[in-house]
Amino acid sequence: MSVKQISIFLENKKGRLAEVTHLLAAEKINIRALSLADTADFGVLRIIVNDPDACLAVLKANSIVAQVTEVIAVEIEDKPGGLARALAVLDAAGLNVEYMYAYVEKKKDNAIVICKIDDRERALDVLSDEGVATLNAQALKAL
């Protein structure tokens, strides 16, 4: 039930993000969610796309360092306390969220957050035990 995220190494220099997103656009790869973490020297761009395999192929062909990272798409209620509840479940299980960011979706009442958790399998188990829904790649794509 995990989702493939593409993580990309980028040097922190002017125009680099634009260049990379342009490469993806040219191959008709649609970015559905993104987060950018950076330091003074470099950044890691994390994206959820419609076609992860094609995305990785384009990046590799252009000598850009990228990898697939398995993440979880958690569905939460789009109201105060929605995110807090899901995080409480993970916290109670002693699971640490490495990073998270919001997913852009249009046709649902609920919100979706993308989470990177080291012990992914256990996270999926505890979330499901506590009735917090997660989405698989298919479901995400269908949104």
């Binding site: 993580s7 330091t39 470099f42 890691v44 000598s63 850009i64 360092v65 990272t69 490495e98 990177k116």
Partner: protein, 432 residues
């Protein structure tokens, strides 16, 4: 395999006697025929009859690269010009080039020492030698060529560059021996991988790599990516070109072809000869060269000598792989730093490839050394803290070796310029 069992295995006493005799003859010739050396010997108050054995070599003057430039182009000639059959020069990238003029006899010596070199890594007449050193004024191409011809191997004189063609020849002709700079061998492996072709499948049996400093970790990397024995070879235009020294299959120091090139190690500051095992500047005297013989040439290469017996059976002195250059040496905040030391450290970090560059700058009167290291897939982690940890780890490893603080910066693949010849590792932006 030992090519010349008359000379390469001589016991020390016989070698010393032979070298003494050859030095005596050389000094006699230089005194009579080369005004440049006569003047230098007169300045030191030394006459040919003062040289009675190899240990008297310390009485003789040194020769520096600058002096060789001053007497460009023919000042070193010890024979009439018609005796010269071939001329090579250094690239001249750092000033006036240095000239090496060969008589027919010199070319024979060159072929002999290069045959010893190639044989030391196992080359026989059954091998196909893909010679990717540049042919032309540069000594690399023709030096390997003459040696391989003497062995009777098949030479493919493809010369340097033209990577696509190099790969096609490797694949189609099934070359068994590759000769080029170490950095170019990795460049070839990388280019091959991009074409979906694994150089490990070519069945290269040995590679002879020289003309630029490299490290033990780079050897591991080459041996792994090309699946071949990587032999370090040493030579310089001022002496003869490649063929001065080579590793044997033990890969434990480079055997100097002492019966032709006599080695000494000196303290670069005082000129004093240092004992075996102590690091200093390598000095070479050409004992047999006729065209442009050289007395006590200061190579500016830093190494040390080992005269203990080698398991391979050769009796010649071995020099440790070149540790750095007296003129390549960076002085950062008063500390001597050799690029080879930095390479050694960074290549020990998991996944790091030898694509790096050193940028030196001065900020607020303080030298700063930035070590740029190219990112690759096996080093990549999608968590910033993992990447930062890697930078800090390299910095602390560098500190442990160099005792200076550096700044390590991870950069994107291919952002450091690749070279088909000698890799450019240092950018010094300091204006002093």
């Amino acid at each position: 395999m030992i090519w010349n069992t008359d000379f390469e295995v001589l016991p020390r006493a016989e070698l010393d006697a032979l070298e003494g005799e050859r030095l005596g003859r050389l000094v006699d010739t230089l005194y009579r025929r080369v005004p440049f050396y006569r003047r230098k010997m007169e300045e030191k108050c030394v006459k040919p009859q003062d040289i009675q054995g190899i240990r008297d070599i310390t009485k003789l003057p040194f020769t520096t690269k600058d002096e060789m430039r001053e007497i460009y182009p023919y000042g070193l000639l010890a024979v009439p010009l018609p005796e010269i059959v071939e001329i090579h020069t250094s690239s001249g990238t750092t000033g006036t080039p240095v000239v090496d003029a060969y008589t027919r006899g010199d070319i024979e010596i060159w072929a002999e020492v290069m045959a010893r070199t190639l044989a030391a890594g196992g080359t026989t007449r059954h091998d196909i030698v893909q010679n990717a050193y540049g042919y032309g004024l540069f000594t690399g191409g023709l030096g390997v060529h003459y040696g391989a011809r003497l062995i009777g191997a098949t030479v493919i004189p493809i010369s340097g560059g033209n990577t696509k063609r190099q790969l096609a020849i490797l694949r189609d002709f099934k070359s068994t021996v590759l000769t080029c700079t170490p950095s170019y061998s990795l460049f070839l492996a990388e280019a091959a991988r991009e074409e979906g072709f694994d150089l490990r499948r070519v069945n290269l049996k040995a590679g002879f790599f020289g003309a630029e400093p490299w490290s033990e970790s780079m050897r591991q990397e080459i041996e792994d990516k090309l699946s071949t024995l990587a032999i370090d070879i040493y030579g310089l235009t001022e002496i003869i070109g490649p063929g001065v020294a080579t590793e044997c299959e033990q890969q434990d120091g480079l055997h100097i072809q002492e019966d032709h090139f006599f080695p000494e190690i000196i303290d670069p500051a005082t000129g004093a000869v240092l004992p075996d095992g102590e690091k200093g500047e390598l000095v070479i005297t050409t004992l047999t060269k006729e065209g442009t013989p050289v007395l006590r040439y200061r190579t500016r290469d830093i190494t040390y000598l080992d005269r203990s017996p080698c398991p391979c059976g050769r009796g010649t002195a071995r020099m440790h792989r070149v540790l750095g250059r007296t003129d390549d040496m960076l002085i950062i905040r008063g500390v001597n730093v050799f690029p080879s030391q930095i390479e050694e450290v960074i290549l020990q970090v998991d996944g790091v490839e030898p694509h790096y560059q050193l940028v030196v700058d001065r900020r607020d009167q303080l030298d700063e050394l930035e070590v740029q290291v190219e990112m690759n897939e096996s080093m990549f982690s999608d968590e910033i803290k993992g990447l930062e940890k890697m930078e800090r780890k390299i910095e602390s490893d560098l500190y442990a070796t160099l005792n200076i603080h550096t700044k390590v910066k991870l950069v994107e693949p291919k952002s450091i310029a690749r070279s088909e010849g000698k890799a450019k590792r240092i950018i010094d932006k300091r204006t002093i």
